[in-house]
Amino acid sequence: MSNRFWDALDERIGHRRLLREALDEPIPGGASWAYVFGSATLILFLVQVVTGLVLAMYYSPSATDAWASVAYIEREVAFGRLIRGVHHHAAGAMVVMAVLHMLQVVWYGAYKAPREASWLTGLALFGLVLAFALTGYLLPWDQTGYWATKVATSIAGTVPFIGTTMQVILQGGNDYGSLTLTRFYALHVIALPLIVGGLIAIHVALFRKHGVTPHPHQTKETLKRVDRFYPKQVAMEAAVGFLVVGFLVVVAAAIGAPLEAPADPASNFIARPEWYFLSLFQLLKYFEGPLQVVGTVILPGLVGLFMAALPFIDRGRDRRFRPRAVWLGLVGAGLAAVVVLTLLAVAHDRDDPAIARQRKVAAREAARALTLAAAGVPPAGATHMMAVDPLTRGERLFRRECMTCHVLEGEGPEAPEAPDLTGYGSKAWIRQVLRDPDSPRLYGLTAIEGMKSYAELPDAVLGRLVDIVYGLRSATRPIEGGPYEDLLSEHECSDCHEFDETFGLNGPALHRYLSRTWIRSMVDNPAAEFLYPDHNDMPIYEDRISAEDRAAVVEFLMSLEARGSPNAWPFVDDPGRVPTPRPVRPDDPEPESE
């Protein structure tokens, strides 16, 4: 555009002077990479503003809708997964950048007079970054967000005297619910951005007033070299900004942001905060009972107080390192403590097999929730959607009710008393039962005994028997390979088992064996006359859990065939393997009943 246009514009708004003031800021001692952390933090804040705005266009802060809307962002919105991933990881990056910025300031002694106000506004900004992280973590209303934030607000509740009131105010009521979400949302997208925006303006204005603090060991000579802010320092900052943003986009594209299953107040999810809160989390483990408040409030409070007091206790004009060794050492020790506590928390979780197991279940539930959500979430919400999903409900019940005796996929009781149900109903499982019924992994430790092993049969015949048993479940689909009744009597199966609707023999009736109906009968009452009237030590579940619950468990059992891991029965095809002799049970009570 012509010069005349710019001249006219400048006459009216005076942009040239503003620009000159912004860009020609002198930097004594020259531009430096040491100064980039503040602007990198600011760039990350802008990234959060942009990505947050996009997320807010799709997000719904209500207990019934929040999870579903986030799942919608993940699945349906173009680049939604990327934008959410960037927002998530930029939050962590902001904490890192703010800490680096703070360390640089401490190292250079830049908090010293007359820059106390810069230091204090910076500390306040760091606190607000953490507040952003905390409020944002809850918003997806998934298991991690729900439980980790619940711990955080409970911590607020441990503050002496005002704790209870504070907790009610924070969570917007007596318990977690829609009001907690609307409150956190309002804080996260309105209050905190306004406050942070204002504080950033003050922080930057103060920085401009006092200028950069050069390296403490610069001499009068080297300080004579003065760069202008633009272009060298700006170019450095743009380069760092580009690297940081590029890194975030790559990370977000590669791993996205986690979305656990919808928040379920009835579950026992392992609450873990984001990694930058792990040190505080670890601290909680060391203080018990009445001392708890030391870990939750007093120690973190003292650290904050110390940091705020730093410019007032490290008072000398001298910014060189050696005379300030005590203060630098204290800050360094604090940082080391944070790192050690974080590592301890990570190491503890990594070495705990129970946590690994819970994470596996959590991952499966998260995947299941996303699958269900693809068909739309009912108005009652995602938590309800999961609660009425037979598979999810069935698995939870199975873990509670059945895994005290049964092993499943390598998990379960240390001393199993009932058959391993890994791959239950699959051909591999049936083959295993035919070959090795008395194995301690199958019926060897139960009251059920007397079935012969078919391990000696030629593979083709055994395979045919497996196909037959596998095919029994369907009332409509004929069993492959034509009529099979003769084979069953030839191999003495029908000596003990019934294959039509009558019963009265020694073994359980196998009419429609492993069908939904058969499994349901087994769950309802395994001691029924046509199942194991004399050889049963499994609980009779129709006396213990509701019909819906039993139906859910059956759905879960039906799903095991498809998800049985391929190595579940490693010796299933080992022709040399001899059947296990029936182990002697300590209380082998049952005489042969006829």
Partner: protein
């Protein structure tokens, strides 16, 4: 300033533009695409399909229009799958063996049209467009006649293809 320093400054300016622009684009472009994500998608379901609106016998044989709700089984609204929900209404009229259906959405600016039995005419309460029983404009700002909808009768029940059209245009175009 030396020529070399001048070159250096120029290079730094270019680098600033490249890095700054690159960072802005890396976030800005996906963000823009995400904002426009609903374009061309059915975010709220319930239009474009034949919906059963009631038995043929419920419509008066003398040609008097009746207003019936359009209820859709399990419509989607973004992430929600709703139970059977009323998504709109239509006017039904019988002319001989034929069933006519009109959208209740005024083609002017989308207000809900009302049937006034005393005048035997349709009227929009917002900007006072009025239409005769065949949907033709009698008066007012509506640029076109009331939008007729496709109908069919299946096993004695009327089905209407429930659709929405662009507002404010003289021709009827699907929205």
């Amino acid at each position: 300033m030396t020529a070399m320093a001048e070159d250096r400054r120029a290079l730094l300016k270019v680098l600033t533009g490249v890095f700054g622009g690159g960072a802005a684009a890396a976030i800005g472009l996906p963000a823009l695409r995400a904002v426009t994500s609903p374009w061309g998608k059915v975010t709220v379901s319930g239009t474009g399909e034949f919906v059963s609106v009631g038995p043929l016998a419920s419509v008066p044989e003398d040609g008097t229009p009746i207003n019936v709700p359009v209820v859709i089984e399990a419509p989607r609204d973004a992430w929600t799958r709703l139970p059977a929900t009323t998504v709109g209404a239509v006017f039904l009229r019988r002319l001989g063996g034929e069933v006519l259906a009109y959208s209740t959405v005024c083609p002017h600016l989308g207000c809900g049209i009302d049937y006034q039995s005393d005048k035997r005419a349709f009227a929009c309460p917002c900007h006072e467009s009025s239409f005769d029983l065949d949907g033709r404009v009698l008066a007012g700002p509506s640029p076109r006649a009331m939008d007729a909808l496709e109908t069919r009768v299946v096993d004695g029940r009327i089905e209407v293809k429930f659709e929405k059209f662009r507002l404010g245009t003289a021709t009827k175009v699907n929205a």
